[in-house]
């Protein structure tokens, strides 16, 4: 730890300690009589209003991956990275269409996870299991990526011992994560909700300061865009191709407009079927809170667009560009940019913002994965008579297991690999879209057809992603491939295959009159706005009690 800036380091540590204190204190926040219930630990009492939900969902959606990986992609490839901006624009009108319905039906039936809804809607344990497995599978690498983001910041800070043993070298990361795991265990969803206030305040401050201050140091926006445009048009000597694109091209292969659009649409469809965003949604107290947030959350998207522009600033700043090139890791672009541009105390604030910005979603994701495991695997297949208290204990332990699984993921696997697994996570989670969102609007789809479509989409998506290669990697090189002569997002192709199979097989199963399964929901429940959750002892609620 020779080249650590002591001011930066001290500020990061102080803010981390503050957040840890809040995390533990949160267990007393809005305390209920009976805390041993998943509605309390897993959904913080389902009572959050517009303001808290805004922070919580914002914390959910904009993760370390956003702060590190989006500018890294912009830095490395140019305009294609801005698909993330387009995606965070269209995600809100899309979510506006189905999310209030999911909130209503989940509130009426006391569903805690999307798997509970699938179980109730289709009367199918198997389909709910497929939802739970997909959710957990997709969340693990996502949590691991939060750690990779923290590692990126720590390595630029110079924190970490020089030991060759990865566990000793990553000791600071390890400590941060153990602390996170413990307060999540104790406080449940209340911890990330309370911490997200601090986190977002830090992030809004450093992003707004950076966006006005850095261009003055780099000769203005005209110079930043000019340098970027020239850089991406230049031919890279090793690949013989341009460094990237400054505007998505209208050609059919490469960083095309079509690829841009399918990446954006695919990601937008996927975001609100991720279990952790659903957890954040179900924790809100009213249907109108969900709707109102859809028009308030674009403020975060604006922030994301500004963060993406940091990628161009890193290109325009010769020192940062050289540092990143030397490290050979585009993910260090934003940390290096801040370190070079800001005084060390402000760098500390920005770095703390990114680290805490990684811890909050990691906690929510672990809670969401744990709830899926408890409700749709443990209770469903192993202990149908589990009491609410046992469910809660199970979820608490499962959240620890999920976190340490993700930690191993982050430390053991090469980083490029874990990032590609995250892309794969997006491809996977998109495959539950037909059953989940389809089910919110119609019971027309047959449960077996949905299961077959899901299987096909998962298989196609995984194989197609495995087969993508480029100059440096022989597998998992990108989340787009070429279909019928056009570059397209793999998840998008997969979900279309999935939906087509679901439609065709539904016609077949209906023709042969295969058993449809019971539906415990009623049409008006999808628009209901009950004031209170149903009675807090729902032993069989959501599991076919009717």
């Amino acid at each position: 730890m020779s080249n650590v800036n002591s001011v930066t380091f001290t500020i990061v540590v102080i803010l981390f300690v503050l957040v840890t204190f809040i995390g533990f204190a949160a267990s007393r926040w809005r305390r209920a009589d009976n805390m041993l219930h998943l509605n309390e630990w897993g959904l913080a009492g389902r009572g959050f209003g517009t303001f808290i939900t805004w922070f919580l969902l914002g914390g959910d959606l904009y993760t370390a991956y956003t702060f590190i990986a989006v500018p890294a992609l912009v830095f490395g490839s140019g305009s294609i990275g801005f698909y993330a901006v387009s995606y965070t624009i269209m995600v809100f009108p899309i979510a506006y269409i189905f999310l209030p319905r999911l909130w209503s039906v989940s509130r009426v039936h006391n569903y805690v996870t999307p798997g509970d809804f699938i179980r109730g809607r289709y009367g199918s344990r198997g389909l709910a299991l497929s939802m739970a497995l997909t959710g957990i599978l997709a969340l693990m690498p996502y949590i691991a990526l939060q750690l990779v983001g923290i590692q990126a910041v720590l390595s630029v800070m110079g924190v970490g011992t020089s030991s060759t043993n990865t566990y000793v070298k990553d000791l600071p990361l390890f400590i941060a994560f153990v602390v996170l795991a413990v307060y999540t265990y104790v406080s449940g969803l209340r911890a990330p909700a309370a911490i997200s206030f601090v986190k977002d305040t830090l992030i809004y401050v450093f992003v707004l300061v950076a966006i006005f201050y850095i261009p003055t140091r780099l000769g203005g926006w005209g110079h930043i865009f000019g340098t970027a445009q020239a850089h991406y048009a230049a031919i890279n000597p090793t690949t013989g191709k341009p460094n990237g694109t400054f505007i998505p091209t209208s050609k059919s292969i490469g960083a095309t407009q079509f690829d841009f659009a399918t990446l954006a649409l695919g990601s937008a469809l996927a975001l609100f079927v991720y279990p952790h965003t659903i957890t954040g949604t179900l924790a809100s107290k009213r249907r109108s809170v969900v709707k109102r947030n859809m028009s308030l959350l674009p403020a975060y998207s604006l922030l994301l667009a500004l963060i993406a522009l940091f990628g161009y600033m890193a290109v325009a700043d010769p020192v940062t560009a050289a540092n990143v090139k030397k490290a050979g890791n585009a993910q260090l672009a934003v940390p290096y940019l801040f370190q070079h541009m800001f005084p060390s105390w402000f760098t500390g604030i920005a770095f703390a913002g990114i680290i805490i910005g990684a811890l909050v979603p990691a906690a929510i994701m672990a809670i969401a994965a744990a709830n899926l495991f408890t409700r749709n695997i443990f209770k469903e297949f192993f202990k149908p008579d589990a009491s609410p208290a046992l469910e809660t204990r199970m979820s608490q332990w499962a959240s620890l297991v999920v976190k340490f699984g993700a930690l191993l993921f982050a430390i053991e696997l090469p980083h490029t690999f874990s990032i590609n697994l995250q892309l794969l996570g997006g491809v996977w989670i998109l495959q539950v879209f037909p059953m989940l969102v389809g089910g919110l609007f119609t019971r027309w789809f047959h449960r077996w057809a949905l299961l077959a479509g899901w299987l096909a989409g998962m298989a196609y998506g995984t194989i197609a992603a495995y087969n993508v290669k480029n100059a440096t990697a022989s597998h998992w090189a990108s989340s787009s491939d070429i279909v019928f002569g056009h570059t397209i997002y793999i998840g998008f192709t997969a979900v279309i295959i999935n939906a087509v199979i679901a439609v065709v097989l539904t016609l077949v199963f209906r023709a042969v009159k295969a058993p449809e399964g019971a539906d415990e929901t009623l049409p008006h429940q999808y628009t209901a706005d009950p004031d209170k959750t149903p009675a807090p002892v729902p032993a069989g609620v959501g599991l076919g009690a009717d």
């Binding site: 305009s79 801005f82 901006v85 387009s86 624009i89 269209m90 809100f92 009108p93 899309i94 506006y96 269409i97 009426v108 039936h109 203005g220 926006w221 005209g222 930043i224 865009f225 445009q229 400054f246 505007i247 998505p248 209208s250 407009q257 079509f258 841009f260 659009a261 954006a264 649409l265 009213r286 249907r287 109108s288 709707k291 109102r292 859809m294 028009s295 308030l296 674009p298 403020a299 998207s301 604006l302 667009a305 500004l306 522009l309 009623l522 049409p523 008006h524 429940q525 628009t527 209901a528 706005d529 009950p530 004031d531 149903p534 009675a535 729902p538 609620v541 009690a545 009717d546």
Partner: protein, 107 residues
């Protein structure tokens, strides 16, 4: 559970929501169309990339592509707020009491 009253075997009064429930989309065709259009235009405006994938005209120092994406964010917020206002007109009379601003104020 509260919804057992609405199950097929349960007694059905005139206030039973499963009977009085009427699809609000069918009841208000014009408002519903306006909502659908607003949502579609908001999605299409960023999904159809050729609309804005160009450098000129520059707004200040910002190439059009980047300016467009930045300017779109506040527009989405406003569009969705308008949609939520329009949706209030769709609410069936029985759900009138669920006007949350009234309820929240009453607390």
């Amino acid at each position: 559970m509260t919804e057992t009253a609405a199950s097929p075997s349960g007694p059905r009064g005139s206030q039973d929501p499963s009977i009085t429930y009427r699809n609000p989309v069918a009841a208000h065709p014009i408002t519903s169309t306006a909502i659908a259009l607003l949502l579609l235009v908001t999605i299409g405006g960023t999904l159809i990339v050729p609309i804005y994938a160009r450098i000129t005209p520059k707004i200040g120092d910002f190439p059009f592509f980047y300016f467009y994406l930045l300017a779109y964010m506040p527009a989405v917020g406003v569009a969705l707020w308008l949609v939520s206002l329009l949706q209030r007109r769709l609410e069936p009379p029985t759900a009138g009491s669920s006007d949350d601003s009234v309820r929240e104020a009453a607390r």
